[in-house]
Structure formats: C-alpha cells, structure tokens
Symmetry: C2
Subunit: 141 residues, 2 copies
Amino acid sequence: MPNGPNPFAKTRRDHADETAEDYVEAIADIEVASGTCRVKDLSERMQVSHVTVTRILNRLSDAGLVAREPYGPVGLTPRGLEMAAASRTRHETVVSFLERIGVSNATAEHDAEGMEHHASKETLEAMRRHLRQPEDDANLG
Amino acid sequence: MPNGPNPFAKTRRDHADETAEDYVEAIADIEVASGTCRVKDLSERMQVSHVTVTRILNRLSDAGLVAREPYGPVGLTPRGLEMAAASRTRHETVVSFLERIGVSNATAEHDAEGMEHHASKETLEAMRRHLRQPEDDANLG
DNA sequence: AATAATTTGTAGCAATGGCTACATTCTGTA
DNA sequence: TACAGAATGTAGCCATTGCTACAAATTATT
C-alpha cells in the first residue's frame, strides 16, 4: 500500500481555524496599508459579501481575536495580533521558498495562501534551512 | 503593502472539490491495498463516522465519480479513476519534494495531504524540476 | 435456520461559510 | 438640515461536513 495506515487523518477539520488565520492576517495587512480596516476592505480582499465577513468577524470577536463595535473599524486584540504575526511569518516563509524554487511571485503568493495552513513546523524549518543556502547551490531554474 | 491587491482571493472555496479528490484517491488506494473498498474502510481512513462517508459518497455518486449500490462496495467510475490518477501523481510529487528538502516521510505524507490541493501547475512543475536535480546539488540537510 | 454481530442507511441536529433581500446607520453633499 | 448614497447589520435560505441515535440489511456463528 502506497501510504501508511492513515497518513491522512484529520485533514478535513480546522477549516474554521484557517479562516480565522486568514482574516486576522488580512486585517493586519489592511491596517498597515490603509491605516484602518473596514468590513468593506475585507469583503473585497476575500471576495465574499459583506454579510459573510460580518458573520465571521462576530465569531472571531467571540473568540477574542478581533475587537470591534457596530459600524466601526475592525481591529485586532493582543491575541489577534499574535496570531497575525505568526501567520505572516509563516506566509513569508512559504512565499520566499516557492520563489526560491523558481515559482513566480504571483503564483507563489497565490499558492502560499492555501499551502501555508498545511505546512508543519518541520516542513517550515526545512524551507527556512533551504532558504539559508546560497542561491547558486540550489541549482534551480 | 506587503501583498498585491488581492493575491488571496478565492482560497476559501472548493472545499467540496478537495473532499472529492481526497475520497477518490482514498478509494483507489484502498482498492489496491485490499481488493475492494467499503464504507467502513473509508470511515477509518478519513477518521470520520460512516454517516459522513455515506453522505459524501452519495454526492460523489451524483457527480459521476463514484459507482455504488446500497450495502455494496465502493468503486470509481472512469472519471473517478482519472481524478484519482491525477491526484495520486500530484500527491507523490509533493511528498517526494518535501522528502527531498529534508522532511521526514511521515511529516511529508501528512503535510502533502493538505498542501497538494493548493499547489498550482506552476508550483508542481517547479517541484518536479527540483526533483530532477541530482541530490548532491540540492545541498540540503 | 435462527440469532448475534457487523455494516450500512436514514433522520435530524449543529457549525461554518456562501448568498439575496431588506433594514438600519453613517457620511457626504446639496 | 435634509437627503442621497455608501457601509453595516439582520433575517433567512442553501450546501457541506461533523455528530448521535435508531433502523435496516448483510455476514458470521451457533
């Protein structure tokens, strides 16, 4: 048998957690770029309706990641900021790594967005190790 | 701003498609390993209840990927077989690539399971290109 | 063959994340 | 200030994927 007993397992869970990370990261990005983050900004970025954004923000607010008041801007709590920082680091690692192996920036950004949630600590470490190698040794392209 | 206008976009869709690919791939694996695939085999592999498996199989059957009759074994249609083959190839590429950069087999299998759905054609090609390099040149570990 | 155990199916609930339609609040401008 | 337009919120619908509990069918055992 090609795979072990169940190398798979729980792949189809944690969707909510991935969403949380994506939103928290997006909020941080938008705040940096525009000063403040509004529901509208998020709905444009995530390409979903403002209704979906509002509902997810309510959940993240209940979870203590997002600080928010009706009709007001969207902010991050200390915990949200922590998560955003961790997400950003991981995101940058994956993007840089993909670019290093020859993937275009646009594709790297796109693929990383989905892949980053599935890269374990071990894999991220391997990527960083690889990034530390001088470009020439990589022999790519 | 760290990212482009919306390098993100539709990451949060296609969950159903990912599920389809995972199940179709699992069915093919189990058939190879055990001769036939049963609902029970899938519920164990995916670590979900048999109820969840049954419902998903019904959907995949409606979609023309899975062939099935009540209380009978689970099979793949020609289209299902095609999808399984493509999924398997992609899965193997990602696993081999991760191992190449120094990730253990267990982690590679685990991470690939989630990452493979987000690796674009361009990224997969970059991985294959890298795999074609002699191991020494990679300078990893 | 009858009964027990296993497997599969169905009913029905919950959470998540899409949506449209409609109500409300804010903002900007006449 | 009053009104128009933009931004948010709410109600309520759907699909997907989890679940438990219970029903039905299949398989194995006695």
